[in-house]
Amino acid sequence: MILSINYLNKMISISLFLKIKKEAKRKSKNIHSRYLSFLIILIFIVFLNLSNLEGMPLKEEKFFIAVFPFENLSGTFAPLKDFRALYIRKLKERRFQILSEDILERFMAKNRIRYTGGIDKETARALKNETNVEAVLITSLEHYNDTNPPKLALTSRLVSTGDNSEILWIDGFGLAGDDSPGILSLGLIEDPNELLSKAIESLTKSLENYFLKETGKEIIKGVSKKFQPKTYFRSNIFDSGNKYRVAVIPFFNRSERKNAGEIMVLQFIKNLKNAGKFDVIEPGIVRNKFLTLRIIMEEGISLSHADLLFTELDVDLILSGKVMDYQDYQGTYGKPKVDFSLQIIERRSRKVVWSSNSNNEGDEGVFLFDFGKINTAHKLASNMVKAVTNLIIK
């Protein structure tokens, strides 16, 4: 429907444009009028692009979603209810239909749902049957610091409900008030609410773009070589032409930062999903399998446990890792640090097909005026994970 309206709009615009162009051609007998026609072409192109993104309704029938309470992985207190209210408001502005608060609360109480960082198959099925929502929006707050300059990191994903629960869209943003200070520090953001608003606006825009383009496949743009793993092993078993089903299992957290393991899991899910070459299993389903199969990992996943997960989750690859360092900093002076290792086990060979070590700091390659400095561990980790993903799929 969206496409048809888009086409109609385009056709009208093009016919209008042709008429004006004809008129311009008739009148134009000197070189100045040619410039005028070029200008008209330019205006029309801009108009067409804008009309595609902003002017169009999201869908004829509104997409019905439930917004789960935010999961706090920041390790600090944060006004999560306010964040969620703002997110819902922004989503409603973008014409999403949101499941009402009391129905969601009743559903969660009835099904005894306490964990809001993911959704398992049973809950997804129950949510579809009882409330008829099409998807659930799960958001994790990874970092929150309201001291000047404020810092914030959010990751949000849309998971379909019903029998085949899968991740439809996932994106995340790590922002700092001094990301782009500009000339005379005029671009500094000192108000944490302004930063929050910016982050949520970016998330809703990204979600809307997913529906408009009707694809979640983004080509991962190249990242700087400095973010590549310091050591890596890639087995020949990997076939870059294949599409793999992947389960990202919980990372071991050896850092001093609380929940760093969960944050890294989200980073990998985001980047693998957006690479377009992997079907990533919803982490709520993986978590549920760990609980039902009573899998306790001591230092990493054993092959017998891996076999169990391969069968139960029907995946080709199991991705696991360790976070050695995940540091954000407070205030103006400092740098984020991220250090992690990764292992991927393949189903058929029962072997490690990828192994790597990555470590970076936010000020690497920065020489003048903090130009190019990364201010949040989220952004640094995102670049590092992107670099790893690029090497895996190469």
Partner: protein, 209 residues
């Protein structure tokens, strides 16, 4: 003729004097060489079993390292880097750490970082490997001397053959520390990750040479 030789300094006396100088400088040259050779290391930090055929080793396991440092995570970090470096050589396959942990638990090994030959045989039967690596992390982190400081790592590794439980290879490496440059100009040395990789590269070179 004699007069000519005298005139141009090619007399017998001059020649003898020149020869003496040449001989003296030769002796000095050989003496310096001898002193330099005497100062050289003997490569005594590597042990390699001459009867062992290292070519047959295709699958190995890396046991948890013993840490003699204050940092608890350092041994795990170094072990991870070592596993990656070994895998990236392509010469051997290293089984996942989770599988090693399962084997250790199943074989009921009390001290996995220093297993006895019986433990080694028992573990190899469970996880199906041809060799095991054990390691001791002797130093990891910052060292201070006066006003200067720098990062240092000191690591020793052993390879145990699983059929007999014998040590077939052993080596150690120390990297980082306070250099003359650090003493004169400060700077704090190189980052920990870089010197860790250097030490492990050094050990892997010693293993494959």
């Amino acid at each position: 003729m004699k007069g000519n030789i005298d005139r141009y300094g090619f007399g017998l006396k001059t020649m003898r004097k020149n020869m003496k100088i040449i001989n003296m400088s030769r002796i000095l040259y050989y003496l310096v060489l001898l002193v330099l050779f005497a100062c050289a290391t003997t490569g005594g930090d590597i042990y390699r079993d001459p009867n062992m055929d290292f070519g047959v080793i295709k699958t190995i396991a890396v046991m948890p390292f013993t840490s003699l440092t204050r940092d608890n995570v350092s041994a795990e970090r170094v072990r991870d880097v070592f596993i990656n470096k070994l895998l990236s050589t392509g010469a051997v396959y290293v089984i996942p750490v989770g599988e090693v942990a399962r084997g250790i638990a199943k074989a009921e090994i009390q001290n996995p970082s220093t297993p006895s030959p019986e433990d080694v045989k028992k573990l190899a039967g469970i996880i199906k490997v041809q060799a095991l690596f054990t390691g001791v992390l002797r130093e990891y982190g910052e060292v201070r001397s006066g006003a200067s400081s720098a990062n240092i790592i000191s690591l020793s590794l052993q390879m145990l053959e699983t059929e007999t439980g014998k040590v077939v290879w052993s080596a150690s490496s120390t990297k980082g520390g306070i250099s003359i440059w650090d003493r004169l100009f400060g700077g704090g040395g190189k980052p920990m990750n870089i010197i860790t990789e250097k030490a492990i590269d050094d050990l892997i070179d010693k293993l494959f040479k």
